[in-house]
Amino acid sequence: MNFLASIEQSGFSTWIRESPSVWAYPTILFLHTVGLGFLVGASMAIDLRVLGFSPQLPLEPMKRFVPVMWFGFWINAASGVLLVMIDATKMLVNPLFYIKIGFIALALVSGRMIANREFGTPSTGKSSAVIPVKALAGASLFFWVAAVTAGRLTAYLFSHPS
């Protein structure tokens, strides 16, 4: 049995996948949805403000919503690991899964660069100053939409085990 199959067939994965309880697989999917709502939603709201919508809204206090993003992120990281484990032979060979992870990484990096600029945290590099902050916000919006799209499509494209 190969490595991916052994993850998928482990007792833990099998228990999650085959448990008839709504507290197993369905609840993990639900958590992944709520996490998406708060992570992508809060990021989008900050991006829209940076892009110039509602200019009277002071940006700096919006940094209080960054923990809301991280709350969503960690819910999704944890639920995401479980969702991949129970479907390892399909997910880990699906290029869309890696595209999704790539877009999430890009979204987090652009979010971080926006935070460095707007929320007054110490800058981690000079490179962020070269890119206009509105371009970063536009990129962040695009990366999140792309990540959600790639994630959703993992269920439809390349989803048959080779």
């Binding site: 369905p26 639900f30 708060f38 939603g41 829209l48 919503f65 499509l153």
Partner: protein, 167 residues
């Protein structure tokens, strides 16, 4: 009522829109993707306004935050339109599913909650909330109810295939 819903579903299933949704290989996945993006826009705007009223990010004045509302409404409309596509594609899997009706009822309650926010003067009260101002108790109740209902809507939507038998 049951008869009416049944015949509406029968009529809907025979429309070209219905066959377009189920026969196309891309409409359903594309609509699902948009449904999730709409969800994020809705939670991103409505959820953050709710959190502000509940006391998070209190240094934000409420009125300019409220000006992001068109994005939240757009998210809702995206979900409504794509949801209509799912329903048109396969109405029978929804009308016999109590989870679907629970979700619709929760959305209705969320709508009534929004209505109460605007017509009972709560919005007038919070419109002028400045940096650091605490929202009145009534506004906090409405914000809390809003959060619970929208999370409930996501829960029931996700449970359509599990508690009920739709996808």
């Amino acid at each position: 009522m049951k008869m009416l819903i049944q015949s509406f579903a029968t009529w809907l299933k025979a429309t070209p829109l219905s066959s377009f949704v189920v026969e196309s290989s891309w409409v359903w996945p594309a609509a699902e993707t948009l449904h999730f993006i709409g969800l994020a826009m809705l939670i991103g705007v409505i959820g953050l306004m709710d959190l502000r009223l509940l006391g998070m990010a209190k240094r934000l004045p409420f009125a300019p935050l409220h000006r992001l509302l068109p994005w939240g409404i757009s998210g809702f409309v995206i979900c409504l339109l794509t949801g209509t596509l799912f329903f048109s594609g396969d109405p029978f899997q929804y009308i016999h599913n109590w989870v679907f009706w629970g979700k619709m009822l929760s959305i209705l309650f969320a709508g009534i909650n929004v209505l109460l926010f605007y017509v009972t003067g709560v919005f007038k009260n919070v419109e002028n909330l400045g940096p650091g101002d605490d929202a009145p108790f009534g506004a906090k109740v409405i914000a809390g109810v809003s959060l619970v209902l929208w999370i409930g809507v996501m829960y029931l939507g996700r449970m359509l295939p599990f508690l009920g038998d739709a996808f």
